[in-house]
């Protein structure tokens, strides 16, 4: 594995008219898989497309495998695989035809038949791209990104709109890439995807990286444990807090959704339910869980990740 960063972004700013999409973003991605996690509109795609050489930064610097994606594009392009969020294929081309074509543009491509088999694209037969299902189109785009045996792949929302089975197949392939030493930068707004796949997670919001680290490290950063329940909106959280041990915290995250964090043990659970009983509240969906990236994100931004 290399010591030089795979991707290095310093003070990146990108505006579209008056809208600032990326606002002074710093990101260093090392070996392995880096997930760029954030809600829609956070600047994920703009950031990744700047790395791919599609966008010219208004200011700041971007280096990919040590190269400038704009000025050293010819040297960089063969080493990098790109999966766009959508499209990228002739509407009249068949899946295998397009994949074979992209393979021909590379010196030592993967075995196309094996890749087709691996991603379950063999059943597409003579169907042209415009008639493929969304999931088949996604898998073809992924295959096109990896077929040239790149050192680094950029995957923009690789599992958006996939059913659970196809999603798992994509995850398996990304894990195999990692095993064989291919680096990946993937954007996602699914925290489970980031937790499952990534060595390193960069959480971005409003065009900036607001936290970065391994999924475990990010999750340990917050409270130890979490108890969640739903009830009627607008409960007196202050009164609940008084009933809880001193190291606890309680909050109504969204109307009717409550979170208690601290040392979550049977005593605390009993305290919460008896407080609910005293206040005539039926706590539904009561659950005890480990701190998740979603919590980290909520704490950092006060916003839901999906939405």
């Amino acid at each position: 594995m290399r010591n030089e960063p795979v991707v290095q972004i310093e003070s990146l700013v990108k505006r579209y008219g008056t809208k600032t999409a990326v606002d002074g973003l710093d990101l260093v991605a090392g070996a392995g898989i880096t997930a760029v996690l954030g809600p829609n509109g956070a600047g994920k795609t703009t950031t990744i497309e700047t790395c791919e050489g599609y966008r010219k930064p208004d200011s700041g610097t971007v280096r990919v495998l040590g190269l400038d994606p704009l000025r050293q594009a010819d040297a960089l392009r063969p080493r990098v695989g790109v999966m766009l969020q959508s499209g990228g294929v002739y509407s009249g081309a068949r899946a295998d035809e397009m994949l074979r074509h992209v393979a021909k543009l590379h010196a030592d491509p993967l075995d196309v038949d094996a890749l087709i088999e691996r991603l379950g694209l063999g059943s597409c037969g003579r169907t042209t791209y415009r008639r493929l299902s969304g999931g088949q189109q996604q898998r073809l785009a992924l295959a096109m990104a990896v077929v040239g045996r790149p050192e680094l792949v950029f995957l923009d929302e690789p599992t958006a709109g996939l059913d659970p089975q196809a999603r798992r197949a994509t995850w398996d392939l990304v894990r195999d890439l990692r095993r064989d030493g291919v680096h990946a930068i993937l954007t996602t707004h699914h925290m489970d995807e980031a937790e499952q796949l990534a060595d390193d997670v960069a959480i971005i919001d409003a065009g900036k990286v607001i936290a970065q680290g391994s999924p475990d490290a990010l999750c340990r950063g917050g409270a130890e444990n979490t108890l969640r329940f739903t009830g009627r909106p607008g409960l007196d959280v202050g009164s609940l807090l008084k009933a809880l041990p001193p190291d606890s915290a309680a909050a109504e995250l969204t109307p009717g959704a409550y979170r208690v964090s601290g040392t979550v043990d049977p005593q605390l659970l009993a305290t919460v339910t008896s407080w609910c009983a005293q206040h005539g509240v039926m706590p539904e969906k009561i659950s005890v869980e480990r701190h998740t990236l979603e919590d980290v994100f909520l704490e950092l931004t006060g916003k839901e990740l999906r939405g």
Binding site: Y90, G148, R149
Partner: protein
Amino acid sequence: MSAAGTYTPKPGAAPLPRMIAAQAALETRMLLRNGEQLLLTVVIPTLLLVLFSAVDIVDTGDGEAVDFLAPGILALAVMSTAFTGQAIATGFERRYGVLKRLGASPLPRWGLMAAKTLSVLVTEVLQIVLLTVIAFALGWSPHGNPVSVLLLLVLGTAAFSGLGLLMAGTLKAEATLAAANLVFLLLLMGGGVIVPLDKFPDAVQTVLGLLPISALSDGLRDVLHHGAGMPWADLGILAVWAVLGLGAAARFFRWE
């Protein structure tokens, strides 16, 4: 799971000539598979050639109708592929992110444009072979210097490609589709393809004569029908259109 090492990086671009050949072959296949494109590039020129040669609808002057029509139809074939077909195909490639995705492949952009040109030329050769065979069957007896004909075809292709790419790279795909078809129809009527330009009033004739389609059909007709020497005026008009069109396309073409 795949065997360990299946995906071990081994990056590298294919040799440039191989990339361009593969790209040109794919683009040509896409074109030949597309029904609307075939209608435009093969069916319409063939029908016009056969119909107007067989039935005396338009007064084409002295001699066999096919001797007047064949050069015009060859000019139309060049326009249908280099301008109309290329504009529509490229417009939709841009719309569907094909140009964007290929922009991230090892094929450089100029290589993609070279492949598009190659694909246009291959298609034109197929069209010209087909139309020439049909014209001979209809009794065509061409004259003139093949070098002049080749020069006219190449400059005509350059002029129409520039205009087609300019349209595809600046307008929305749907607007390109509509405009490219409209221009095709207008130039078919007013470009000396099947209707002689001298049927129009003098003032209109002068303007129409400056259009690339008129220069191409007039130049081809001078050489093939009348056995004229190098048609410098028509070549000059085509060269100006080629410089303007390709220059504007290079300046204004947007890849996404």
